[in-house]
């Protein structure tokens, strides 16, 4: 037996075990896609696939379900959060990899990574009890009062200044995705060859000109991939958004008012879902979220491969 284990048999058993484990992982992923699809099938059947996607009504009482408000909420919150987070996270990456002295760069890098390590519920907790009152009293109410006096047309756009709503959720979301955008950008910037920078310095460029003309163009693949990964994070972020966004799905959304995302509606309604159709609709929303994050992740992959310059990426 021992001899056979040290011959072909042992290797066969070993690789069979590894293939079983690896195959199990693939099976789980496939099963997940399938279960979300078939779990939501009832909703897709009842309203039609596109009917469900573009359905503007989500009403538990009349049994009318459409994912459109949540799709819109997800896309708006993620896009705005990304727009807010982009420049600061790029700045942090540049500070870490280019400007700061080594020790300071390490401290900043550690702190930025810490942002990713904090749990989502902690952001939510802080958001509810610190950010929301701040936003309500210092931003929303003054703006609302101002618009009431000077530009009543704006009031509908701004919505109720309660603090809980789109604005607070987006602010926290922006903060949460910074580390994802920043760390890929940082890595890409570090991969820029020394010679490129030195050539630019030799031409008499200032430090900023080196960053602007050499470092950023060279690192653009990593920077964009980071942006898209951050976007993927934002799309699926659940707890903090659920706690802050107010969970209203009445389109159109207003800036301060309540809204909802795909992840937040699942988190909010799933345990209390009544009847098969609501459950199926929530699973269908989950399936759409699955598709959306799939597309975004593949896009990130593609961009990273397409836009990276020279070596440094396989």
């Amino acid at each position: 037996m021992r001899e056979r284990l040290y011959g072909k048999l042992g290797d066969r058993i070993f690789i069979a075990a590894l293939v079983t484990l690896g195959g199990a992982v693939m099976f789980i992923a496939a099963l997940m896609a399938w279960e979300l699809w078939s779990g939501g099938a009832k909703a897709f059947r009842t309203f039609g696939f596109w009917g469900f996607v573009f359905g503007r009504e989500w009403n538990v009482i009349t049994g009318q379900f459409g994912a459109w408000p949540f799709l819109v909420g997800t896309v708006i919150t993620s896009a705005v959060a990304l727009a807010l987070a982009f420049l600061p996270s790029l700045a942090a990456a540049i500070a870490i990899a280019e400007y700061a002295p080594r020790w300071l760069g390490e401290v900043i890098a550690y702190l930025v990574d810490l942002l990713a390590a904090l749990p989502s519920v902690v952001y939510g907790l802080w958001g509810i009890f610190v950010l929301v009152p701040l936003v309500r009293d210092r931003v929303e109410q003054p703006l609302f009062l101002w618009s009431a006096e000077h530009a009543p047309a704006l009031m509908g756009l701004l919505g109720p200044p309660t603090g809980i709503g789109m604005l607070s959720a987006v602010l926290v979301l922006a903060l949460m995705i910074v580390p994802y955008a920043s760390s890929l950008a940082r890595d890409a910037i570090r991969l820029v060859p020394r010679e490129q920078r030195e050539a630019m310095y030799a031409l008499g460029a200032t430090r900023w000109e080196v960053v602007r003309r050499v470092v950023l163009p060279y690192a653009r693949g990593g920077i964009f991939a980071g942006v898209i990964l951050a976007l993927a994070r934002a799309l699926g972020e659940t707890m903090a958004v659920t706690m802050l966004i107010g969970n209203g799905h009445q389109l159109p959304y207003s800036v301060f008012g309540p809204a909802a995302t795909m992840a937040s509606v699942i988190a909010n309604e799933f345990t209390e879902a009544e009847g098969g159709l609501q459950l199926a609709s929530l699973l269908a929303v989950g399936f759409l979220l699955f598709l959306l994050s799939l597309v975004v992740n593949f896009a990130a992959d593609w961009i990273l491969r397409r836009m990276s310059v020279g070596e440094g990426h396989e």
Binding site: L5, Y6, G7, G10, D11, I13, F14, I15, L18, L21, G22, A24, V25, M26, A29, L31, M32, E35, L36, G39, P88, A91, A92, I94, A95, I108, L111, L114, L115, A117, L118, P119, S120, V121, V122, G124, L125, W126, F129, R207, W208, L235, G236, E237, T238, M239, M243, A263, I266, A267, F270, T271, G286, L289, F290, L294, V296, N297, A300, D301
Partner: protein
């Protein structure tokens, strides 16, 4: 552009870069500060040793949630670790294997999927067939969350080892499985442990996959087939509750959870360095 304006611009950009950085770091420091200041007051002996009290009564603690966090996360680590290590070893040690390409793709896909969908999945495949919320289903959800992280880190660590090491083993007449188990894995131990701990820390902070799997439980429970509490869940439930003493305890739980995650991260990085 004359030289002076270029220098001025250079200075300005330094300022802007640091300004942008502080826009990121200031809220982080605020969060840490608030969690620490507000949380410290809630931490006392009762917090660690008592089950939760009804709202308004005061007192009570987080014992069920603390115990539950450990049970759920360790079960998840056992499952996710096994699958993740298997996949990672396959990808690193058998680069010619045809399963590798789809496996890598699947790992990327799983890594990019929102955590709440793991919860939905575990609900459909575990909670529904078993007829009730359970700690086990929560562990399944978290395990799926861990798998891609562990796979990726295992593969990376193993690929760092020189091929000469494997060749040396093979030259001694060892079969491949023995080379992998007795040479490669021990040599990469530190890095593998780091990957496992980072995955654990990532999953332990998640509440979303547990909402409709582990569900939460007011009472101390060791039954993996029944509902169980967990710190992130408790923070969520207490934070959105209207009771002052519950909110106070939410801050305490947030501090405890953040400290536990930071400690795990710290140990993970130490394990990597000590290799």
């Amino acid at each position: 552009m004359n030289l002076r304006r270029r220098y001025l611009r250079d200075r300005l950009m330094v300022g802007l870069v640091y300004l942008g950085t502080s826009v990121v770091l200031l809220p982080l420091l605020l969060i840490i500060g608030y969690v620490f200041v507000k949380g410290v007051g809630a931490l006392n002996w009762d917090f660690f040793t008592k089950p939760p009290a009804p709202p308004g009564e005061g007192g009570g603690g987080m014992l069920p949630a603390i115990v539950g966090t450990f049970i759920i996360d360790l079960m998840a680590l056992a499952m996710g670790g096994l699958l993740g290590l298997g996949g990672g070893v396959l990808m690193a040690e058998y680069p010619e294997h045809p399963l590798n390409r789809p496996l890598r793709m699947v790992a990327n896909v799983l890594g990019g999927i929102p955590a709440i969908l793991m919860g939905l999945f575990a609900f459909v495949v575990v909670v529904l067939p078993m007829g009730g919320f359970s700690a086990f289903s929560g562990s399944v959800a978290l395990a799926i969350l861990m798998i891609p992280i562990i796979m990726r880190s295992t593969e990376e660590v193993l690929k760092l080892l020189p091929w000469e090491l494997r060749e040396a083993g093979l030259a001694l007449g060892l079969p491949r499985w023995r080379v992998t188990l007795s040479l490669i894995l021990p040599a990469a131990k530190g890095g593998i442990v780091t990957g496992l701990l980072l995955a654990l820390a990532r999953a332990a902070g998640e509440a979303a996959p547990l909402l409709f799997t582990a569900f939460g439980n007011q009472f101390l429970s060791f039954d993996p087939l029944g509902p169980m509490d967990s710190l992130p869940l408790k923070i969520y439930v207490y934070a959105i509750s209207p009771y002052e003493d519950w909110i106070q305890q939410a801050w305490g739980a947030a501090l405890l959870l953040a400290l536990m995650l930071m400690l795990t991260n710290f140990i993970a990085r130490r394990a990597m360095r000590r290799r």
